[in-house]
């Protein structure tokens, strides 16, 4: 049996599509050269200044600014060469049915150019030195081809996990996410190749902390409350974001996000919801604009107007951590972002800045795992006590 027969059809289709796009895009470059022009790659600028918040669609998107990277431009020449080099390596990997990681690509493209100048001095120069450089070239190729790395079958480390009453097909296998034991299904780097077979759930709960995810899993939270339980284990990777987006978009499941009560937790939520600044070109495919911030919110801790706090005076004394300068600074930054300028977020940020207090999700499990699973979360979802 040849190795091809093990390979999933969806996978093969993806490769064909990516190869086709590569040929089309780079044909343009060759045409420029044929005409004797300066070969030029036009790319949207990936800078904060060229990142736009689309208020209607509630997404962080790349702005209209383009940069042209020309081979016969002294300062761009090397980047141009790197782009062609990376494109070739990815192309070859696609053709050979390989699944390189970004680290593989870094090593494959790290060549030494040896040249002897007229006059005899010998020089050596690497095509790139650090992975930071080759990673940046991968992002350039994503925006140039309009293909995300997942679509080019480039793998990254799996970080996100999922359990729930759901069956999926991946690489030809059907996997039952309710039969993972104490473990969980690692969300694969190419979530677009996953097919949803069937699902019996009412909502998706994404937990920032892996430890809290495991605790909720072990007490059967997802079974009892008909939830798909996911953790991003910190900052979400692209695969987790894409997976969550698909659950929301294709299955219509509401998505609730549970993070620490601090500016870093808030930002994790915003990455799920509207995208990240560094990868704003992928927002359209990765962001989940309907995602809701379930907590832990400042009003949960301190109460607000008629809302009663979930913690007692004594518990606050035990669990609250004093905010550090970096937290305060980050809060001020977030306050400047358009997408944090809603009424509810203003209240959150103001309370935080006033109290200079933050709290980890674990504080709620300390108060009692059952409290978190059977009171706090169901009550908040039922009463609509979330921020959008």
């Amino acid at each position: 049996m040849s190795i091809e027969e093990y390979i999933d059809k969806a996978d093969i289709e993806a490769r064909k599509r990516a190869l086709q796009v590569f040929r089309e895009r780079f044909r343009e470059i060759l045409e420029q050269i044929k005409r004797g022009e300066n070969p030029t790659i036009m790319l949207p600028k990936r800078t904060l200044a060229n990142t736009i918040y689309d208020e209607r669609r509630k997404l962080l998107l790349l702005g209209p600014e383009k940069l042209s990277r020309s081979f016969f431009d002294l300062h761009e020449s090397k980047k141009f060469m790197q782009t062609l080099l990376m494109a070739r390596i990815i192309y070859e990997a696609l053709e050979r049915n390989e699944y390189p990681t970004i680290r593989d690509l870094y090593y494959r493209g790290k060549h030494t150019i040896i040249y002897r100048e007229p006059g005899g001095r010998k020089h050596e120069e690497n095509t790139w030195d650090e992975q930071r450089e080759s990673d940046s070239v991968i992002r350039d190729i994503e925006v140039f081809t309009g293909l995300l790395r997942e679509e080019m079958l480039i793998l990254s480390k799996e970080k996100g996990k999922v359990v729930g009453n759901m069956r999926i097909r991946s690489g030809g296998d059907v996997i039952d996410l309710s039969k993972m034991g104490h473990g969980a299904y690692a969300i694969e780097p190419t979530p677009d190749l996953i097919e949803f077979v069937d699902v019996d759930a009412e909502y998706v709960l994404v937990v920032e902390k892996d430890a809290v995810f495991q605790q909720l899993h072990r007490i059967g939270f997802w079974r009892k409350h008909k939830a798909i339980l996911i953790t991003s284990a910190g900052q979400p990777d692209r695969a987790t974001r894409r997976f969550v987006r698909r659950l929301n978009e294709e299955l219509g499941l509401p998505v609730y996000i549970l993070t620490d009560a601090d500016p870093y937790g808030w930002y994790i939520y915003s990455v799920f919801k509207i995208g990240s600044i560094t990868l704003s070109y992928e927002s359209e495919r990765l962001a989940t604009p309907n995602a809701r911030f379930i907590g832990v919110s400042m009003t949960d801790i301190f109460g607000y107007k008629r809302k009663k706090p979930y913690l007692t005076e004594q518990e606050r004394r035990n669990y609250i951590i004093k905010a550090k300068d970096a937290d305060i600074k980050r809060a001020y930054e977030l306050r400047n972002y358009k997408w944090f300028q809603t009424k509810k977020w203003k209240i959150e940020i103001d309370i935080f800045l006033e109290r200079k207090a933050k709290l980890e999700i674990e504080a709620l499990t300390s108060k009692g795992l059952r409290f978190l699973a059977d009171k706090y979360l169901p009550e908040k979802i039922e009463t609509g006590d979330w921020i959008e």
């Binding site: 044909r27 050269i33 494109a87 060549h111």
Partner: protein, 531 residues
């Protein structure tokens, strides 16, 4: 001659010129044994050059300095040239009597009045008791004449110790002179070498051989065949005359009236000019010049200097190097990557014509330095001492001249040659080592430097452009293999080599280079990729 001499000359009227000059030997550059050694070589070499290139002969000069057995600090200095030689009749006076010279006429020459060589003889004789020995044969003479001479200092007369005639079968012409002096080679060494090097820069048409007391020989062979234009002898210009000169002119010129005298003694003065001048000066044209008393002579000299309508002085008496010689000299000795030289048009100060020349050598073997290396010449003589007090330094000093405007940023590999050719170089002292700040000369130096520096700037600009073009080409060419391989692999229907060729032709078009220019830029460029 400088002004300080006038009162001194009054005071020492009773001394013979020999006594007077010996008393003041430090003014002439014989103040110490090391300085005297350097000065002796210099005086003899300059006389040798004056006997050759001025007369259209390509100089071949041999300089030998030997240590004598008998005394550690006695040195014999021998200089031989292939010049016009000296008529044997005049040899005793030429070397044995101070103030006798063939150079009393007005034209640019390296030495004046032949004083320097006689100072060397005088100095040597007093310090070592040794006579001077001379071999000479003028052009076309069938004999070589030999003299051994001393100077009778008390009476300023030559004493002939020995005389001989030899057959001149090869029709050799020239002069070979040997003097023994008290010197200090170890201290003079670097100056002497520097002097000879700088002389060689100024005379790229000469062959110069130097053998030092340690037996080292250094040679500078000529790199061009062209000699500088020899100076013509001209009559003095009325603006440049003083009472002493006036007296000598009246004595030498056979004229019975003042008007006749003016017309025959001075350049650019015809009958009409002389009449107009005398009318302006209120002097009777029919006066006998021989009968003028000192006060009238003084009046005449002053009026001659002040009359504004004389024609400017003639520059025919001057012998500049010319740009070709300066460039050849700088190239041959300094091995720079670029040289440029300019000769300015003649100008005058106080009735003395002068020409300023400036050469700039850049890069190559010239070492980096925080200020320009200055090579000063006056009437083709290199000047080594007192550089920083010279007007030439004042002009090229980076604090006063904006080298940056000409793309020279220090430390830079740059040497500047300056030359003042004049019938009278305004030296700061009798030592003739630095030139005074005469405004006209300073102005001309600055203009000449700017003119030369502009050409240097053009060169540096061109070079910078070429380097940039080269840098571009190297950058693009070294990345071409990866780009070509990338496109060929992805597109599949075109091979790497074809893409490379297409890239190179697009590159040439982009950089506006034709095939030949492009080939020149990438000649020797090799690129390989290690995967």
């Amino acid at each position: 001659m400088s002004k300080v001499q006038e009162p001194l000359r009054e005071k020492y009227r009773s001394m013979t010129p020999s006594q007077f000059f010996y008393e003041h030997r430090e003014l002439a550059g014989f103040g110490s044994p090391s300085r005297a050694l350097y000065q002796t070589i210099r005086e003899l070499v300059e006389n040798a050059l004056d006997a050759t290139d001025v007369y259209g002969i390509m100089p071949r000069i041999v300089i030998v300095v030997e240590k004598l057995e008998e005394r550690q600090d006695f040195y014999r200095i021998t200089v031989e040239d292939n010049g016009i030689g000296i008529n044997p009749k005049y040899v005793p006076q030429a070397f044995g009597q101070v103030l006798f010279s063939s150079k009393y006429k007005l034209r640019q020459a390296r030495g004046r009045f032949g004083l320097g060589a006689k100072m060397a003889i005088l100095y040597g004789q007093i310090k070592t008791g040794k006579p001077v020995e001379v071999y000479t044969s003028p052009i076309g003479f069938t004999k070589i004449y030999y003299y051994k001479l001393k100077i009778d200092i008390e009476r300023n007369k030559p004493i002939i110790l020995s005389y001989a005639e030899h057959d001149n079968k090869t029709l050799w012409h020239g002069t070979r002179i040997s003097v023994v002096i008290e010197g200090d080679w170890s201290r003079a060494r670097s100056r002497v070498y520097e002097y000879i090097k700088r002389t060689a820069i100024a005379t790229p048409y000469a062959d110069i051989v130097f053998i030092d007391p340690e037996g080292n020989m250094i040679t500078y062979w000529h790199s061009i065949e062209k000699l500088p234009r020899p100076p013509k002898e001209v009559k003095p210009h009325p603006h440049g005359v003083d009472i002493e000169q006036l007296k000598r002119l009246i004595r030498d010129v056979k004229a019975k009236t003042l008007i006749e005298f003016l017309v025959s003694a001075f350049q650019g003065v015809g009958k009409r000019t002389a009449e107009a001048f005398l009318k302006w000066a209120g002097l009777n044209p029919s006066l006998d010049p021989h009968r003028l008393n000192d006060s009238l002579l003084g009046e005449l000299a002053r009026k001659l200097r002040e009359y504004p309508k004389f024609r400017p002085p003639s520059a025919e008496s001057l012998s500049p190097f010319g740009p070709e010689i300066i460039e050849a000299g700088l190239r041959a000795i300094l091995h720079p990557e670029f040289v440029v030289a300019v000769s300015r048009r003649p100008k005058a100060y106080e009735g003395h014509p002068f020409i300023i020349e400036v050469g700039i050598a850049y890069g190559g073997e010239i070492p980096l330095s925080n200020e320009p290396i200055l090579l000063r010449y006056a009437n083709k003589i290199p000047l080594l001492y007192d550089e920083k007090s010279d007007v030439a330094w004042k002009v090229i000093d980076p604090r006063s001249f904006n080298w940056k405007d000409y793309m020279v940023v220090f430390p830079a590999p740059v040497a500047v040659l300056t030359h003042i050719a004049s019938t009278k170089v305004p030296y700061k002292g009798v030592g003739k080592e630095s030139v005074a700040d005469v405004p006209e000369i300073e102005h001309e130096l600055r203009n000449a430097l700017r003119e030369a520096a502009r050409k240097l700037r053009l060169y540096l600009l061109q070079k910078k452009r070429e380097e940039e073009a080269k840098r571009r080409v190297i950058t693009f060419v070294k990345y071409t293999p990866e780009v070509a391989k990338g496109l060929a692999t992805i597109l599949g229907d075109i091979d790497e080599k074809t893409v490379q060729e297409m890239l190179l032709s697009a590159m040439k078009r982009r950089l506006r280079l034709d095939d030949e220019e492009f080939a020149k830029l990438v000649q020797g460029l090799e690129v390989s990729i290690e995967e």
